[in-house]
């Protein structure tokens, strides 16, 4: 068994005192989380543990114990859940397995809400450069991945949107800080509404000529790109 927690000789199976208490607390937490399909709030676990037990120590021990097993303990925001190990997906997946498909626009709006939250609809539209079509936000709200968070303290008090714990759970994120690339994007100023001070782009002049690896766009290209239907074709 790939048990991660190192055991000192002579300690195994005879752990006493604090260690035994933590083991017992771990059993309780394990049973609680295992029983539920949904993530279990850490607050609930704390209430069920014996008084004076540090829940983080307990969860750490459990997490280590399950790290290499077929089932893993994962954190979802302020809650905990057991989920099957991702590398075994192909064995468990069956024909009935189906997950919600999002349209391209829906996925884009979801990503913008996740990375920019709290974010208003107007801000989403400013980022995408297009009005949000009917049904896009609706579907995200219905999926339970997106929620209305509150209202911005600005003229018109627009509603702000954010993601839910269901979003974290679905995409296997312990917290929003685990969103892929979020630190780099923040560092590059791409999660802000304003052009960052250090933002650089080529000045006109150097840009007027096409670069060596550039071709001018021609009529042919537009057809090729699917922007124009070929000339003379019916329909």
């Amino acid at each position: 068994m790939a048990d991660i927690v190192p055991l000192k000789p002579g300690q195994k199976g005879t752990s006493t005192g604090l260690d035994a208490e933590i083991d017992e607390a771990a059993r309780i937490a394990e049973a609680l989380i295992f029983a539920s399909a949904e993530p279990v709030d850490e607050a609930l676990i704390v209430r069920k543990l014996p008084q004076g037990i540090n829940v983080r120590v307990v969860m750490d021990r459990l997490m280590h114990h399950y790290a290499d097993r077929g089932v893993n303990l994962v954190r979802v925001g302020d809650a905990w859940a057991f989920r099957t190990a991702a590398d075994l997906a192909f064995l468990i997946r069956d024909d009935k397995t189906e997950i919600r498909k999002l349209s391209r626009a829906g996925l884009e709006v979801l990503a913008i809400i996740a990375y920019h939250q709290p974010v208003t609809r107007a801000e989403i539209e400013e980022i995408r450069g297009v009005a949000t079509s009917k049904g896009t936000l609706d579907v995200l709200l219905e999926s339970g991945w997106v929620r209305m968070r509150g209202r911005r303290r600005s003229p018109g008090r627009p509603v702000t949107y954010g993601t839910t714990n269901g979003f974290l759970d679905h995409f296997g994120l312990a917290e929003l800080g685990d969103l892929p690339g979020v630190e780099e994007l923040k560092g590059a100023g791409l999660l802000s509404g304003r052009v960052p001070a250090n933002f650089s782009f080529p000045m006109p002049g150097e840009g007027e000529e096409l670069a060596e690896d550039e071709d001018p766009i021609t009529q042919m290209d537009l057809e090729e790109l699917g922007l124009l239907a070929p000339r003379g074709e019916e329909n």
């Binding site: 539920s36 990503a111 339970g144 790109l225």
Partner: protein, 278 residues
Amino acid sequence: MLPKPVESASQTTVSPAEALPWDAPERRPEEALHIDVDGFEGPLDLLLHLARHQRVDLARISILALAEQYLDFIDQARKVRLELAADYLVMAAWLAFLKSRLLLPKPAKDDGPSGEELAAQLAFRLKRLEAMREAAARLVNRNRLGRDVFARGAPEEIEAERGSKFQASLYDLLIAYASQRQRLAVTTVTIASRAVWSLADARAILTRMVGTIEEWTALDQFLVRYLSRPEERASAMASAFAASLELVREGHLDIRQAEPFAPIYLRRGPKAGAQPNG
């Protein structure tokens, strides 16, 4: 400031024939050309697409070259007389403005943003949109619950976190309220949508029909096919009359009325053979 797109942003253009409720006239070959903006999510998306086609890193993109490419694209679309959704044209106007700011010396006493500032803003928006695209792709490819990882299949009920035995989400609540209020609003105030003929509609239909008729014919008779529905009658008559005056002015049509409220007669005008500029 960058233009704010209008509501119908992602709507694609329909060719004039499709806009009319009657049989499509024969299409001229160039009308068969259509701009497929279906796949694009607005002008910014199109710009990003063009930028990628420069086959360079977005960080090295030339905003000026990009603006010119976009304007070229719009020009080509116009040459083949295609309609584009309004926000594509608004973007074109803004890019033309940007281009002039970049190329012409800045007039004195102008506190507006400089060309460089405007260009930086556009470059920033493109980069940010592309970053979100990539983020979305990375997100969707993560190990997802129900596809790659699975929850306990046979959950046992544990004591609920909250005391309340009731469950409802804010979404449920808002949906219930919105649809209830709307239902009632719709039953108390019924505003039937009216079929309205636009001047352009009327003109197109008249143009097609007058070419075939030599003798004085009552306007009603031209329109008899379209007047069967009483709710359309007033609108059709009004638009057709206004359109007929326009066609008379252009010489495609002659018109006659004996006295007020008498029937209006139409016949082919002296220039009826020429292709009306519809």
